[in-house]
Amino acid sequence: MFRNTHLTDRLAKWLPRLVLTPSMVMVLVGVYLFMVWTGWISLSSSRMVPHYDFVGLEQYIRLWSTPRWHTAVINLFLFSFLFLAITVGTGLIIAILLDQNIRAEGALRAVYLYPMSLSFIVTGTAWKWILNPDLGIEKVVRSLGWESFVFDWITRPNFAIYTIVIAAVWQSSGFAMAIFLAGLRGIDNSVIKAAQIEGASLPKIYRSIIIPMLRPAFLSVIVLLSYIAIKNFDLVLAMTNGGPGSATEVPSTFMFSATFRRNQMGVGAASAIMMLMTVAAIIIPYLYSELKESRHAD
């Protein structure tokens, strides 16, 4: 009897670790080990297959003197900034509007959330057709009578990246909305009532009370969306395939073509490490400040 309790106790102590170990090992090997490996390759002279020598920062110098990489980096920042700003904005507005005790809210919520269930390949292909001047919006508007209407961004090298933003926003706004909506539901009604009694107008209540209270929701949305922005690969591939020319190249497509199509594994690894460092530079300070504050709040 005594022995048994002892065993259960020990099991209870060890069980969490036992259960977590396999996934821990997989993450360690599958993610962190290969991060280190990629870093090592980026310092080697690898071309077609990995070579384990050391050439210093040669591949990084090569990477940064490639014009296509500059295009990719500029595109990544343009895309991420616009995608984050617009998606967070639309998501928040839709969430606030849905939160006004309207009819058929459940159905509307599903409608907005539904694009999230599509893969980026499907979204990209659909938007490629919608934005194609000969098939999509431009043609429809013209056939309605506005003959001079022009919307051919996807064919223009300087504007094509914005069409990818449009498609990505369409897909992800509903997701942002869902998180904001959950955050809004978590806010105690009495706070709002108290503010109303004090005579605050509804816009002011939202601006000064509710939106600041949504801070945790903002954290989740921004972290999740920025990783969608940086790993963006399939959407570009499906919509423009990096074109016109190489105008919509992003770091992930650059990395793929360097590593697997151009025998430049070292340059590919260097670009992957640059991406990793970019993510780290943005996410780590943000996470740090957020977590620190929440700890203080406790």
Partner: protein, 417 residues
């Protein structure tokens, strides 16, 4: 009784020794041919291999012009489990041979006189200093112009003899409301035009110095600037709706008369033939115009990997022999739309375009104008070929000047070295 017993044992032994070695051995072939005509063409090889008593284990990895298959191969090699045979394009075979993973087939090549059966320009892609490492099955020509004959007749133009003529014809076509040239914005499609311009305007020697030797002086020469200027004029022949247009869609535009011409390899021919159109009466095929018409070739070849199994090795030998068999090459290429890699196979019963290509290949070999197609990796290694594609495509879709393009080209090549 004793006799009967020994006869029985002997019979068993014979059966045991003859059974498993042949019929059971399957040769795994990793390739990226997945379209209907490609699979049908592969069946020619598969059946010929079956006659020799070996099975064909199909490992098709389609997509990304073979890049996915290359990725699969890397994974397999890293795991120490290579396929028996692999399809190669461009320098892939040579690269793997220098990694020391490919079998040397020199004995078979010498015994069967393969070196003599193949054009000398092709040899660098199947033979290194150490010997024969791959067997070529087919040859495509990259620099064809495919034209709609009815459209040509309607506007009253003939096959152009130079790029100036072609561009001038383009103006007439535009006036008649027809798109002169169908193309997509994918870098490789633009590069196909660029390769032709380099060979046609610069000439074979210039092409070799620029695309193979990557000579800085030649790359920044006035001729190269003139080539970019011509590419700018070619841009004027193309409509503005070319983004994301697949090459086959562009071919479709020529077929239905929306566009007049397309510059594309002879895989485009299949699209015409599939619609029941006839060469010379419904559509025209001719080399991109030049004083000395060039033949920009690409080949598909198969290399054999070292595998520690005697049966597989024998099967690989059988596969190599089958691929180099003149009859197999003829039947395969008739279906695939290309021409045999062997120069000594009769193509009398091929279609008119293939016969023309075969004939012009002989002329081009004599003129020294048989050249590797740069876009498909038969002139320089992929890291350099990619730079040509980047610059040509960027030039094509933007307003870049030819001076800037040449500068970008030289810098890009330098950087990739």
């Amino acid at each position: 009784m004793n006799k009967l017993k020994s006869a029985f044992v002997a019979g068993l032994l014979v059966a045991a020794s003859s059974l498993p070695s042949h019929a059971e051995t399957k040769i795994e072939v990793l390739h990226h041919w997945v379209s209907e005509s490609e699979v049908a063409a592969l069946n020619v090889i598969r059946n010929a291999l079956a006659e020799k008593g070996y099975g064909w284990q199909d490992s098709a990895v389609g997509g990304m012009s073979g890049a996915n298959a290359q990725q699969a191969l890397r994974t397999r090699l890293a795991a120490g489990n290579p396929p028996a045979a692999m399809q190669f394009l461009g320098y892939e075979g040579l690269d793997w041979a220098s990694e020391g993973v490919l079998r040397n087939m020199n004995d078979m090549a010498t015994a069967n006189g393969w070196q003599k059966a193949i054009a000398p320009q092709v040899l660098p892609f199947v033979e290194s200093n150490d010997g024969f490492f791959a067997v070529p099955i087919n040859m495509h020509r990259q620099n064809w112009v495919w034209a709609n004959k009815k459209v040509f007749d309607k506007v009253g133009i003939e096959q152009p003899q130079s790029w100036e003529e072609l561009i001038a014809d383009g103006k007439k076509l535009k006036d008649a409301g027809i798109i002169p040239l169908a193309i997509g914005d994918e870098p490789w499609q633009i590069q196909v035009v660029f390769d032709s311009l380099v060979a046609d305007i610069g000439g074979p020697e210039f092409y070799k110095k620029a695309m193979v030797d990557l000579d800085d002086e030649v790359l920044s020469s006035d001729t190269m600037k003139h080539i970019f200027d011509t590419l700018r004029e070619v841009r004027g022949l193309v409509d503005d709706r070319f983004n994301g247009r697949d090459w086959a869609v562009a071919t479709g535009m020529v077929i239905n008369g929306q566009a007049a011409m397309q510059v594309m390899g002879d895989w485009a021919k299949g699209e015409f033939l599939a619609k029941g159109l006839k060469p010379d009466t419904d559509f025209l095929c001719f080399a991109t115009p030049s004083k000395t018409p060039s033949f920009l070739f690409l080949i598909d070849s198969f290399g054999m990997f070292y595998i520690n199994d005697e049966n597989v090795t024998k099967g690989q030998d059988a596969l190599a022999q089958v691929i180099m068999d003149p009859k197999v090459q003829r039947d395969f290429n008739k279906i695939k739309g290309s021409i045999p890699a062997r120069s000594d196979v009769s193509v009398d019963d091929f279609d008119a375009c293939a016969r023309k290509g075969f004939q012009e290949r002989t002329e081009a070999i004599n003129d020294g104008a048989m050249l590797g197609a740069a876009t498909h990796g038969f002139a320089s290694q992929p890291q350099f070929a990619g730079v040509f594609g980047d610059v040509a495509a960027r030039f094509f879709v933007t307003e870049m000047s030819s001076d800037e393009a040449v500068e970008m080209l030289v810098d890009g090549i330098d950087n990739a070295r």
